[in-house]
Assembly symmetry: C2
Homo-oligomer: 494 residues x 2
Amino acid sequence: MMLIESLLSIDKNSQVPVYLQITNGIISYIRQGILKPGSALPASRGLAASLNVHRKTVVAAYDELYAQSWVDVIARKGIYVANNLPDVTARPIDKTVQKHRLAGKTSFRVDDDRVNHRSVFKEMPEGNITFTEGFPDTRIAPVDLMVREYRRMAGYRFTHKYLMYGSEQGSENLRNELARFLGETRGLHVAADDILITKGVQMALYLCAQVLINKNDIVIVADPGYIGANEVFEQAGAKLALVPVDEHGIDIDAVETICAAKKVRMLYVVPHHHQPTTVTLSSERRMRLLELARKYQFAIIEDDYDFDFHYTCGPILPLISADYNGNVIYVGSFCKTIAPGIRIGFMVAPQNFLQQAIRLRRHIDRQGEHLLEEAMASLLKNGDIGRHLKKANKLYHERRDTLCSLLNRQMGHLIEFKIPDGGFAIWVKYLNGVDSALVSEKANELGLSIGAGTDYYYDRAFKHSFVRIGFASLNEKEMTEAVEIWKRAIIRAL
Amino acid sequence: MMLIESLLSIDKNSQVPVYLQITNGIISYIRQGILKPGSALPASRGLAASLNVHRKTVVAAYDELYAQSWVDVIARKGIYVANNLPDVTARPIDKTVQKHRLAGKTSFRVDDDRVNHRSVFKEMPEGNITFTEGFPDTRIAPVDLMVREYRRMAGYRFTHKYLMYGSEQGSENLRNELARFLGETRGLHVAADDILITKGVQMALYLCAQVLINKNDIVIVADPGYIGANEVFEQAGAKLALVPVDEHGIDIDAVETICAAKKVRMLYVVPHHHQPTTVTLSSERRMRLLELARKYQFAIIEDDYDFDFHYTCGPILPLISADYNGNVIYVGSFCKTIAPGIRIGFMVAPQNFLQQAIRLRRHIDRQGEHLLEEAMASLLKNGDIGRHLKKANKLYHERRDTLCSLLNRQMGHLIEFKIPDGGFAIWVKYLNGVDSALVSEKANELGLSIGAGTDYYYDRAFKHSFVRIGFASLNEKEMTEAVEIWKRAIIRAL
């Protein structure tokens, strides 16, 4: 037998712990057949001495090998390479079959337009500065707080409960904390039972669409509006009825005209800061909208994804806070509070609807990430979310002001905009009829990613002069540089 | 002004850092109106002395107050309670509206049977010992390794990228590592592009159903079988065609008879360890099934959720490893490898199908948990998953043997079973025609939760004598106690 000591090489500077280096080294020699089943391994004391490591390190390596079934321990004799090695090799179905290659196409029928897809994820070009359409700055995301919660939970004995299957409605702790949070921030008096935890607003919208919409049902949406919602409604079979938007929000007269002519099933609205134009739905229109919903018995899907971000004056409370008839389904999210990649949203709705949504959620993915939901509950409970929101509001308020004054100073003759009350973006109109798509193209050549405006209007071919500009994710230096490039791009597009 | 020093009380033994205690104390007095806007706060040196804390602690508290906008700093003068306090109070829509109460029922129509729901989450009674239907032991879940990965990522500058929106197909790193893992363990030669990351097997099944099934399409499933899949297919509009199962898996003659009579759209199968009977589909039947799928052009959904758990002999490779025509959609999961509450599954399929599934996934929840996916990629890459699987296999192998010999010794006259090759459960037949539901009821009275067998057969009213008993989640002491109670329950049910 070769001396195993001479085969093993240890790197004490490696990130891999020394005991694992020894473990993996021995496994590798067993796999290669250099160490045969039944052959003895050296005593830990001797091996430790020749490798110049502590004896406990070798013992830990042998424990690991035993736990993984690579070695047998024979009392008072020693440690031997196991006779039944744990690498159970899979058996092919049939020895005559060729080597596996995945077919490029199914042999059964797949309809290529089964699922609609106007919007798809686009990777941002590396190196470009980016005006997002209104995202938070993930550089200030409180990831360290989330990790702190995970660490804390990893040390608790009760955590193994959170690792089992749980309620499809979401963590009860989180729903309790959320009920309190919604009460304090939005004046909603709801209980944990009235809430379903979702993966972001997206899943809440999907559930609404699938539970409520039958083929050819009328759904009222704003134009310009949020394409991500439109797609989900159309996928469920809806016919969209478009209503315009002005500086006070969606046009309620237009809503009333549609209601008088056809049976309306649902209306989708972002009353706090309309997506994409950032306008706030006025109090007067809110009361009229609720009255229409009551009269014509349609559902209002209230998407309030950025209620927690307001700078100048207090936000108007959500529609649901004045709904006594059960017309409003309220959906919101922490994806903007923590980060878009942390997928936690919620839905508040009357029980008969909520129960159907909960059942469907079970079909879709059974339940959410329980550990993440517990971490979030804890962050809400101990006030971390509140503190983070205060800091983020302050920072984004400053950034909004910085960008607005940059734009006024440098580009007043090229664009027009109103300062938004809150949120993450400014709705900008190019003067002189400049085409948004052309500016985007020119900007891209110069190293700036900026919206082409193709997703604001239902008719994608409609040429227009608007663009939504996120201010929250850039610092002053980045903004200054971005505005510089943007200005040059507009001039090229004139 | 009252002396703020006398208002603040510091608890140095609290879990809350001292600087936050000071911060929160001051905020609380501002909120109560005790500290008025514009009033000066004491210099940090003086306050530190009177509170008997380090001056840096007070500075940190003041920084926090400033970051949250509670104070203004006036250069060379001092720190003052801010004149514009950050608590922006929300405005009600209309002052005349009553206090909010969520309606118990919608005023719009909701169909109470819109979503089917044979199975729902049931909370286990506290204090009972539980024979699960076959779950891993979450007490050995490698949560510490996941937390280690989160901690590592929290410290990286590039992590903020993972916090933004990403690909709806799932993390590219994870798909690359998974392609390698599937190659090493299952002989599949697939690329990252052939894989969609899902939330467990559940979402993969949901996507298959929604992309492929039209109303009244025939879907073949086994009976007894997996109710979670049946529900998803029926929700999509399928008509189920049931085929029986024997000791070699699903009855292929029965499948052929159905194919000859009707157009079949899809067949769902768990070939590795059939759910619930744990039998393995034989090689000969596998080849026949693939041939039928080719001939009659239907899709095979191959659910291989526990391929990684086998004890006695090597598993037969998956059906997809011998599929050259594009008939098989392969779905799997890490929910059994890590823990059911950690929701990571995957789907491998030909491109034309996969693209539709990816689009639908975007509608449903936009994307998965990017950080979790990156953590998983890292655990696969550095071999932690492989090591954990080896240890878990060894432990579950021992537990299977322990339970089987306990059952043989104590209950040989009451039950009958075959030792399963792998997985998490034993399929047990009660002798003398004892009814499973009755045993479950009696066991519950005695402090043991055990399956009532109501979810194995499509016809729920069908009385039978089978039960699925999980061995993986109990240690020897727990098993001994559980078997003791179980035996008494069976005798009561005789």
